[in-house]
């Protein structure tokens, strides 16, 4: 079966790869370009751990046909930190013990980033809604919600204060 050329921007860097027909974006990210931050959970759209941003919008990479991101911008948890400087969300997750087994964490981070990019001062209810499609089977939702709220506060004070 013929391979198809695919070009897209991943975390600020141009990528050019050949993909199989029918291959999903998650597979291309992990095996094609070596970004192991998005995880494969269910392959059905139920768990959310493969969540990435495509042109700024949260989407499930396991349900995205890879070739549809041609010419578009993909952001993963691997693109959050700036060198050794962690993103405020990562710092807040760390300080609030928001990761237990860690499997849901990349999806939670990207769902949270999508929220804060649009709404820098979310309510608790906004946060709950934003991560409604992300399942944490350690059921550590409270620390995750608290971490996202704290990231919003510290991020805002850094920007404006």
């Amino acid at each position: 079966m013929a391979k198809k050329p695919l070009q897209f921007r991943l975390n600020g860097a141009e990528k050019a790869v050949f993909v199989d027909e029918g291959q999903n974006l998650l597979d291309v990210l992990r095996r094609g370009v070596g970004d192991l931050t998005p995880k494969y959970g269910c392959g059905q759209g139920a768990c959310g751990t493969c969540t990435v941003l495509i042109d700024g919008e949260p989407q499930l990479s396991c349900l995205t046909l890879a070739e549809t991101v041609d010419g578009r911008t993909v952001t993963t948890a691997g693109g959050l930190a700036d060198g050794n400087r962690l993103h405020p969300l990562q710092t807040a997750f760390m300080e609030n013990f928001a990761a237990q087994c860690g499997y849901c964490t990349p999806g939670m981070l990207m769902a949270a980033k999508a929220l804060l990019d649009r709404n820098p001062s979310p309510s608790r209810q906004d946060v709950v809604e934003a991560i409604a499609g992300n399942i944490c089977r350690c059921t550590g939702y409270e620390p995750i919600i608290n971490a996202i709220l704290e990231a919003a506060r510290t991020h805002n004070s850094r920007q404006y204060g």
Binding site: M1, K4, D20, E21, G22, Q23, N24, G43, Q44, G45, G48, T51, E57, P58, Q59, L60, C62, L63, T64, L65, E67, T68, A111, A114, L115, V128, E129, A130, I131, A132, G133, N134
Partner: protein, 273 residues
Amino acid sequence: MPVRVETYDRLEDAARALAASRSARYLGGGTLVMRAVNEADQSFDTIIRVRDAALRDVRAESERVVIGAGVTMAAVIAHRDLAFLAPVARAVGGPAIRTMATVGGNLFAASPYGDFAAALLALGATVDVAGGAAGRGVAIEDFLRDRERNAGLLVRSVTVPRPRDPAAFRFLKVTRVKPKGVSVMSIAAWLPQSGGRVAGARIAYGAMGPAPVRAVHVERVLDGQPLDAATIERAAAVATEGLDPPTDALASSWYRRQVAGVHLKRLLTAERR
């Protein structure tokens, strides 16, 4: 992963290719078809997709709104003229699903999915297929009844009558997981009133059959009556008459029968949601 992908610029070309093939699926937002690809579904070997931007158009007219099949749940929530459908779109999945899942795709979502299609059924939408004229499409109940056969048709848009009184449209999704989960059932109710009496009720359920279905016995009880406690009680008593709710991992047929009347009563009793 032996799947071939065919990409078309024009809807008509894609519709022809889809109609000509017995082993092709049309790719909308991907939440149904890519899931099947991931599960190595052998019932299709070709994916057909279209780059036509017109599929994402929403055209509001005075009496109706034409919603492109490629309009996502997130776009429904964001669109001013679709405010009456926003609570329904919000009930679908989490934010990532909503930026992908489309109005057209929801028409083909097997139970227990398809809450949006249930709302369209209650509102009396029509389904416009490629090659046909908008608003002169197939009545949604006919479309859903023949859904398997219609899988070879490419849906271009759905045309929804604009509710003159938005409060006459009510929607409820019952899930066992908070804040979001898959439907035990969903209920969409269109309850126009005239002189204090219900006139032309349309009640639709999601997850109470293989596809969204109308509760015709409930409609018959409501029509011509004031929406009072006695009427609602009688409507709840026939909530599942003539229906055969499915048994799945979320709920048994028996359970769905037991709770349908309770949820219907709650929806009908609420003044405004």
